[in-house]
Symmetry: C2
Subunit: 248 residues, 2 copies
């Protein structure tokens, strides 16, 4: 009669731990506060370190914790809401100052991008690398694939320009086109080595991959593949009539 739980199907220890820790975070810790180290926490809860880590991993995935090697585990601030919708201007984030242009190379895009661009598998396209910053911290990397046919003016003066100037030229030419529509998809991925480094994460860190198709001149004029840190970011798609927010 005194039992509060019958546990017909006992939940895994790491899952129960996650719940306990989550509650503790709500009630006993403030943002930025550092938790006791993993060995101590494991001892305190009477579990192996691996089990404790499994619980911490969950909480990090949910954006509740932040772990840094050599430093410790801290309570994460609420996720940042980042707009990825078509609200701002016609070319999406292409004219946004939150993006920093890193450079440009000519590549043969991966098969998934070739399919979207409907170009020849061996066709060379401009790949513009960009980084999205929030309060100075990188939150996303992007590769924008622009077929040479979309921006013919950018093909000529190729050699005289450096990486970044070339990228800016491609973007400038792109913005001259009339945008006829766009398309987005979001899915879960894991950060490759270079993305991980840029985002200050370990390889394999969970990321949200946003694939955007830009339509102009009656075809797919460009494809953007953006990689957002999944632990710290919430992607927003602002469609609402702003009037609705002001009223009432």
């Amino acid at each position: 009669m005194g039992t509060t739980q019958l546990e017909t199907v006992p939940e895994p220890k790491y899952w129960h731990l996650r719940t306990v820790l989550s509650d503790a975070l709500d009630s006993e810790f403030g943002v930025g506060e550092v938790l006791p180290n993993e060995r101590e926490l494991a001892a305190r809860f009477g579990v192996a370190r691996a089990t404790l880590r499994q619980a911490l991993e969950q909480l990090e995935l949910e954006g509740r914790l932040q772990r840094r090697r050599g430093v410790g585990t801290t309570v994460a601030p609420p996720r940042i809401g980042l707009d990825v919708g078509p609200a701002h201007d016609s070319w999406g984030g292409l004219a946004d100052d939150s993006w920093q242009t890193d450079g440009s190379e000519d590549v043969t895009p991966p098969a998934s991008v070739v399919r979207l661009l409907a170009t020849s598998p061996s066709a060379v396209v401009h790949a513009v690398r960009r980084t999205r910053l929030n309060h100075g911290q990188p939150v996303a990397t992007e590769l924008l694939y622009v077929p040479a046919a979309t921006v013919p003016a950018a093909a000529g003066p190729g050699e005289g320009l450096d990486d970044v100037a070339r990228a800016q030229l491609v973007l400038r030419e792109l913005r001259r086109l009339e945008l006829e529509g766009q398309d987005r998809a979001v899915e879960l991925g894991s950060a490759q080595a270079d993305d991980a480094r840029q985002l200050d994460r370990l390889p394999g860190a969970p990321v949200l991959v946003v694939t955007t198709r830009y339509f102009a001149q009656g075809r797919t004029a460009a494809v953007g593949v953006s990689t957002y840190r999944a632990d710290t970011c919430r992607l927003t798609f602002g469609e609402s009539d702003p009037v609705a927010l002001v009223a009432s």
Copy 2:
């Protein structure tokens, strides 16, 4: 001179394994095919089972593999693209036949939803439970929070109706309102026990959480929280002018 790699920073074993397995999946396996079991794979690669599992976990996160206890590890089909954008009709998926209405309860919503609805923290709202099916398989669960003030007609005949009829009444009343706008956010989460069971996953499985605000009558008329399987789903936001796709 014969070395192809200097490995200044040797990558972790599990990450290298992931790459090797990923390539093998591309070249040597077809969709639905079952892999050798974990103990055998670990032995074959000369690593501990835990390390092998870390690599498999990555690939499952990326939607490349599907693991089922008691059965085995199989090659996953490409992710399903599911529309979550405002393209279909004015009330989003609210009139869509891909959603199945499961029931309705009256609850005090979690703090995050209360903030969006701008209702009193102790206010009771209708919570409509729905499931999104794809080829008969559940791919998402949803809780749609509708304040009683939004659908006054649904408050009266409360007791005479069962769970599902009540939910349908709330939805019907909701659709009568003129939608003034909507708003979406996507973030990574982990499946709670009940969501996990409905989606045929283990607790903690990665999910994409879509939070939708519906505006009507000059205020937030409802808030939907949809939970999609992150391993099998790709969320699409169709904004493009269909004409652009047909041309060229």
